[in-house]
């Protein structure tokens, strides 16, 4: 896990992912701590609403879908490392 203050929020998201994917499929969820704050039609809309109320770095935004494909990125380039 990356060094990040959002570790607990991400683990909370993973614990609720299946339920969120079922009830708010395709929407973006805003999470602060162990609390679901709201759902949004786009990531940018969620972000701009979140920064009105919370400091950046204290909230997590994730898509309400199953699996890990939406947050998985593949790099076929030697120009970057992720150690």
């Amino acid at each position: 896990m990356a060094t990040s203050p959002l570790k607990s929020e991400f683990e909370f998201y993973l614990s609720k992912q299946s339920e969120l994917a079922r009830t708010h499929k395709g929407e973006f969820v805003l999470i602060v701590g162990d609390n679901i704050i709201g759902f949004y039609p786009s990531e940018v809309a969620a972000y701009h609403d979140a920064i009105q109320k919370y400091a950046v770095g204290t909230f997590l935004i994730e898509r309400c879908v199953e699996g890990s494909e939406h947050y998985t990125k593949v790099f076929h380039t030697g120009r970057v490392s992720f150690a």
Partner: protein, 175 residues
């Protein structure tokens, strides 16, 4: 052979072109980075807060910001990405930031997710990945041994060298 037909009523687009004296081994351009703005920055004329260099890299599924650059800009993550890279084994969770990017010629791309990484082998601090390139049309040509790289947004027309109209005549038959 099918003829290349220029499209009519071409929509407005933004573009930039770089021309090199010789061939380039990498496409590196200036880029501006800002915290995401809630307004339309194309119309609003907001300037980027940081200017740096970016490598255009088709091997990157999404854009990347150097870890040190993210710290310098005071970026804070809003989510994670599970990354698979060519260096090291296994997958890793990395911070993801939301930024506005200013490509050359002040082409603004708002709300771009950039993954934090350690950029190696170069002076650039950002990788422009396929997430940006797929927003428009990219061309890379080397007439007379001179690299010309051009990009426009949005995408308007496919380039297909199997079709006539680009100059010259194709040798042989299309496969």
């Amino acid at each position: 052979m099918r003829a290349f037909k220029p499209i009519k009523n071409i929509p407005d687009y933004h573009a930039f072109t770089i021309r090199a004296n010789g061939t380039l081994s990498a496409i590196v351009t200036e880029i501006g980075v800002s915290l995401p703005q809630p307004t339309n920055i194309v119309a609003g004329g907001i300037a980027p807060s940081e200017m740096t260099l970016a490598l255009w890299d088709t091997g990157a599924e999404c854009s990347v910001i150097n870890e040190a650059t993210a710290k310098k800009l005071g970026l804070q993550p809003f989510t994670f990405a599970k990354v698979f890279g060519v260096h090291g084994a296994g997958d890793k969770l990395k911070n993801v930031y939301l930024v506005d990017l200013f490509l050359p010629n002040r082409i603004a791309v708002q709300g771009v997710r950039v993954v934090e990484g350690t950029i190696t082998h170069g002076a650039f601090e950002i990788l422009i990945g396929m997430d940006i390139m797929t927003l428009g049309d990219v061309s890379l040509t080397h007439v007379g041994g001179q690299t010309v790289f051009s990009f426009r947004m949005p995408s308007i027309q496919a380039i297909d060298y199997l079709k006539a109209g680009y100059g010259g005549r194709m040798a042989g038959k299309p496969i």
